[in-house]
């Protein structure tokens, strides 16, 4: 069965044929982050794909992945495109390097995941928190529950991790 739901005013849909995304978001709904691991080369991949980007093997297992990492880059959105995001501007879209598999299989690669900066309950972060985060900030994954079988993974500041004294921020501030 596919899934249809609404999140922040947007219609979300996962087709019943899209078994990769159904599995990915089912784990998210259980607040138990999993990614596909190739049964041949053993590398984990993001986002969900139908074969291994490194060895083309179609078979994979869903494995638990520790969802912590550091902000690799970001954008701070002041002019929202989707109507429901306008109430939350400025909001951060983060590109996060997971610690898991960072620098593998080559030093140029990492599992780089998108997500918004949110509070621990998965709500888009308020402006004062947005201002405190930049490249290098340590974050951990949290989830915004949407529907049975569907939660959206996000990032919140990792309170337990040592943080950079001054994360890198856009210079014109």
């Amino acid at each position: 069965m596919g899934i249809q739901a609404t999140y922040l005013g947007m219609p979300l849909a996962i087709d019943d044929l899209d078994v990769e995304n159904l599995a990915y978001f089912r784990h998210c709904a259980a607040h138990d982050f999993h990614l596909q691991r190739c049964t041949a080369c053993g590398l984990v991949r993001y986002p969900p794909t139908t074969a291994c980007p490194w060895c083309a093997n179609p078979k994979s297992d869903w494995v638990p992945v520790e969802a912590r990492g550091a902000v690799h880059s970001y954008t701070e959105v002041h002019h929202a495109i989707q109507p429901a995001f306008k109430a939350h501007t400025p909001y951060l879209v983060l590109l996060v390097d997971l610690d898991t598999q960072k620098g593998k299989p080559t030093e140029l690669e990492a599992l780089r995941m998108m997500g918004n900066l949110t509070t621990p309950d998965g709500t888009l972060a308020p402006p004062e928190t947005v201002k405190s985060v930049g490249i290098g900030t340590r974050v951990r994954m949290v989830f915004a529950d949407v529907a049975p079988g569907l939660a959206i993974p996000h990032w919140t500041i990792d309170e337990t991790a040592p943080q950079p004294a001054r994360p890198w921020r856009y210079p014109q501030e």
Partner: protein, 417 residues
């Protein structure tokens, strides 16, 4: 300048064998009041007329679109063209040069002889190219669940992590990148067709409101309604056409970084597809960036112009900010970029107008406000002050650098025939 032709390793058998012989466009507006079918017909008709050809001389047609336009069959039908080949592909800013390469291949394969390529769009009044309106309301599914669900949807939002990381990695400054808009606006002020002819300063850009960091409003291109078209044929046939042909030296089409599904998986993310494309482009063209007189580096955003000029080797990696702000890319500088004003000022056409501009530059006949002489040709003054000339003096070699996103690009080198 004679073209160097010393590289024996590349497939130079297509070098100079094909040409762009006709260019055409509609007016650039916000509110065309007509269908994309009418815009496409108008642009293709103008390009055929410009080439000195008849519709019956066209036997191939290619177009590109993003679910927002008409198809070749309607344009060909409206103009009485019977195609021996046509195809409409899905795509945006990496399509123009890629389709020129495909047109060369079609003719080379004997499938047709003369190809029209068009892009028609109501990018302001119908399907907003910035992603607002109908596109913002579309259901989110498949791969978009990992992007659009985060309010990460418009081109600016999607490319911003690349732009931001370039500033982080190389110390690129906002005022350096803003110079791209200032300079392109100077060029547009000498382009009677440009939608925005007003000159802007670096301060104007930096003082405009933030859209999504690091992009200010004036770092982003204009949304417009327009049709644009090119005619490609063999160099042999080009000799019978109206204008000096723009001979195609080399093409690279939709060359990509690894992981086309999600290119950020492979770094450095401050490096774009041009890093890979240049190894195809320059050997095919038999020239290098230092030989080029004028560039057309895609300016959906100020940053895209800078990133591509850098990764195609017009300056050292990391020095793009310096390159675009030191006067090199200004009319009268060593290697002007987007002399029409480009997407930032002339109008947004998904790359095609930048090729049109360079074809006219190579003809030594850009349509500025210089006086027309007794021979019917413009008497270019090379006075680049506001309202004046925008012809690059002695322009022999051009490079167009098309951009779909940080992970995919296309490019083409042309020379004066």
């Amino acid at each position: 300048m004679p073209m160097p032709d010393t590289d024996t390793t590349s497939p130079k058998f297509l070098r100079d064998k094909y040409a762009i012989v006709g260019v055409g466009e509609t007016t650039y507006t916000r509110g065309s009041g007509v269908t994309t079918r009418k815009l496409g017909t108008w642009a293709v008709r103008n390009a055929i007329e410009d080439a000195g050809l008849k519709p019956s001389d066209i036997d191939g047609m290619l177009s590109y679109q993003s679910g927002d336009s008409t198809f070749s069959t309607f344009i060909a039908g409206d103009l009485g063209i019977r195609p021996s080949f046509y195809m409409d592909v899905f795509g945006g800013g990496s399509s123009t040069e890629a389709l020129v390469g495909m047109a060369m291949g079609l003719i080379e394969a004997g499938m047709c002889t003369t190809v029209a390529i068009f892009r028609a769009m109501n990018g302001f009044s119908q399907v907003r190219i910035g992603g607002t309106g109908a596109r913002a309301a579309a259901p989110v599914s498949g791969d978009a669940l990992h992007g659009r669900a985060y309010g990460w949807q418009s081109a600016g939002q999607m490319f911003a992590p690349t732009f931001m990381r370039h500033m982080h990695d190389y110390g690129t400054r906002p005022e350096q990148v803003a110079a791209v808009k200032a300079i392109h606006s100077e060029h547009a002020s000498n382009n009677p067709k440009a939608f925005y002819k007003r000159r802007f300063t670096v301060e104007d850009v930096l003082n405009s409101r933030i859209i999504c960091k690091p992009l200010h409003l004036l770092d982003c291109c204009v949304e417009t309604d327009n049709g644009t078209a090119l005619i490609v044929t063999s160099a042999e046939r080009a000799r019978d056409c109206r204008h000096t042909p723009a001979l195609i030296r080399g093409v690279v089409g939709r060359c990509s970084k690894p992981r086309t599904d999600m290119h950020y998986q492979h770094g450095p993310i401050s490096t774009v597809a041009g890093h890979y494309a240049r190894d195809i482009l320059w050997p095919n063209a038999g020239v290098g960036p230092e030989d080029v007189d004028v560039t057309g580096s895609y300016d959906a955003f100020t940053f895209t112009t800078m990133l591509q000029l850098e990764d195609y080797g017009f300056c050292k990696k990391g020095e793009g900010g310096q390159y675009v702000s030191d006067g090199t890319i200004r009319l009268g500088g060593k290697r002007p970029n987007n002399t029409s004003g480009g997407h930032l000022c002339e109008g947004y056409t998904h790359g095609l107008n930048m090729v049109i501009e360079n074809v006219r530059q190579l003809r030594h006949d850009v349509d500025d406000s210089c006086p027309i002489g007794p021979d019917g040709k413009r008497q270019h003054t090379y006075d680049y002050r506001e309202g004046g000339c925008r012809q690059v003096k002695d322009c022999e070699l051009s490079a167009n650098l098309g951009w779909a996103n940080p992970g995919t690009g296309s490019a083409m080198v042309m020379r004066r025939g």
